[in-house]
């Protein structure tokens, strides 16, 4: 009986050890993937036309959803902020509250989550399908580097698009807050924008820009990696692509929120 228990323990330990090693290995592969992607950003030739196409895909095609999300987020902030602030007679601070919440936190985070859900999942599915139909292999066998075609253009495109989308989100959000706070609930226009201007500094805006840049890198890193390694880490066929896409989006969401916490608490 004791021997059996010892064997069971050893089996469990071996299983745990194996899973731990596998996890470390995957993290290593993922880290190297990011390093390689950045390496090829600086090694010519750059596929400029592909970068422009990806800016259109990631940036332009996400714009309508960003405008809608930003507008409604700002409107909700307007309502909630007014309700909370009016309890202390501080409705005048609605502008700074909406502005700072959006620019420092909600704008970068929500924009990144929307882009991860829309463009990120599409990137994973696209590269994943290319992988399982051997299109990536075909590229390699032509003597071409798949990173240059599939990863670098997405990386550069998201680093251009995401800060711009975040800026649009912030502006529309502030306008949404203005609609509710000023036009519906009666806060003065001058008060709303005046107080916002006096409480907001360039540092706050840059905080949002740094966050959106780093979120963009996370999205492309995770989504390209999951697509590129479809069939290796996520199973084969259509099921493998579907699993890779789900994993990519979930991992993006978790990493974006976790990284947001670390950036907010440590860096700013």
């Amino acid at each position: 009986m004791a021997t059996f228990a010892r064997l069971a323990d050893m089996f469990l330990l071996r299983k745990l050890g194996g899973a731990g090693l596998e996890y470390l290995y995957r993290m290593g592969v993922m880290g190297l993937f990011l390093l390689k992607a950045f390496f090829y950003v600086f090694i010519p030739p750059l596929k400029f036309i592909r970068v422009v196409k990806r800016v259109h895909f990631i940036g332009f095609q996400s714009m309508l959803v960003i405008v809608l999300t930003g507008g409604f987020t700002g409107m909700v902030l307007g309502f909630q902020g007014y309700n909370s602030l009016s309890k202390f007679g501080s409705e005048a601070f609605l502008g700074p509250m909406v502005g700072l919440s959006l620019i420092k936190e909600m704008g970068p985070v929500l924009t990144a989550l929307v882009v991860a859900g829309m463009a990120g999942s599409a990137i994973t599915a696209e590269i994943g399908i290319m992988r399982i139909t051997e299109q990536v292999d075909a590229m390699e066998l032509m003597g071409l580097n798949p990173y240059r075609y599939l990863v670098v253009p997405n990386l550069l495109a998201i680093m251009i698009s995401l800060p711009l989308l975040t800026a649009i989100f912030d502006v529309i959000g502030i306008f949404g807050g203005f609609l509710i706070g000023v036009k519906l609930l009666g806060v003065g226009t001058g008060t709303y924008f005046g107080e916002m201007a006096s409480y907001m500094a360039m540092k706050d805006i840059m905080e949002g820009v740094y966050k959106s840049l780093s979120f963009g890198i996370i999205i492309v890193w995770v989504c390209c990696f999951k697509g590129y390694y479809t069939g290796v880490f996520t199973g084969f066929g259509a099921e493998g692509v579907s699993r890779a896409t789900i994993q990519a989006v979930v991992l993006c969401f978790v990493l974006i929120l976790a990284w947001d916490y670390f950036m907010t608490s440590l860096l700013f």
């Binding site: 290319m130 139909t133 299109q135 075909a138 066998l141 032509m142 580097n145």
Partner: protein
């Protein structure tokens, strides 16, 4: 030209190649035959460096593929052409863009010259008029022919074909094999054809190699293999031939 020495490869503890050794001379075309799952396609992927062996080596033109990295591997691959079983055409590009892609990316030819070369190649594979279509809009046989055009457009020295006739009707299958033969007569490439098209493929190859349980079971001219007294070879060649 291609030398495979004592190649071993396992997947999840299942040994697919068990010390396979093979040599293909320059300009020679061989057919690689064998039962499904015997390791033919795995061998082909080792020859182009898409897979790394557990043990043994693949030497192409004197260079050990397992030691080649980065630019050196890319340079070697510039001389290779590979016809994938499913074609592996880029599905977001038209047939024309697919065939033009390696020329655009790997050469400094002008757009006019690329256009001319692509149309020439498409005509050879009887795909004139389909250049504007996407892979999803054409039949399986046309996909194979477009993939063949893409593989041959750069005039490769070594051509590898992974089941070029699988999934095609006998007439189109034969047409593809004849096309491969015609291209070989024109370019004199060194070729390996993984196929089940027995005995049709025997007409266009110099040698037939049979892989069985991860090793070479038979190696000789088509006639030698047909006359082999080995029951495994006879059973396979006979059965496949009858089919």
């Amino acid at each position: 030209m291609i030398k495979v020495e004592d190649l071993h490869k396992s997947f999840d503890g299942n040994e697919v190649l068990k010390g396979l050794t093979l040599e293909v001379k320059r300009g020679e075309v061989i057919a690689l035959i064998g039962g499904s799952g015997c390791g033919k396609s795995v061998l082909l992927k080792h020859v182009v460096g898409l897979m790394k062996p557990d043990r043994g080596c693949v030497i192409v033109d004197g260079k050990d593929l397992s030691t080649l990295r980065g630019r050196n591997l890319m340079q070697l691959r510039d001389r290779l052409g590979f016809l994938f079983q499913g074609g592996a055409l880029f599905d977001s590009m038209t047939v024309f863009e697919n065939v033009a892609f390696p020329l655009k990316e790997k050469t400094k030819l002008s757009d006019d010259l690329i256009r001319e070369r692509v149309f020439q190649e498409l005509e050879r594979v009887s795909l004139s008029g389909s250049e504007h279509k996407y892979p999803s809009q054409i039949s399986g046989g046309m996909v194979k022919r477009a993939a063949l055009a893409r593989a041959l457009v750069t005039d490769p020295e070594i051509m590898l074909f992974d089941e070029p006739t699988t999934g095609l009707d006998p007439v189109i299958g034969l047409a593809i094999l004849n096309l491969i033969n015609a291209c070989h007569e024109r370019f004199s490439f060194t070729g390996i054809i993984v196929t089940h098209a027995i005995p049709k493929v025997f007409d266009i190859v110099d040698r037939v190699v049979m892989v069985h349980e991860g090793v070479i079971r038979g190696d000789g001219t088509p006639e030698e293999l047909m006359d082999s007294s080995d029951p495994v070879i006879q059973a396979f060649v006979g059965n496949e031939g009858a089919a």
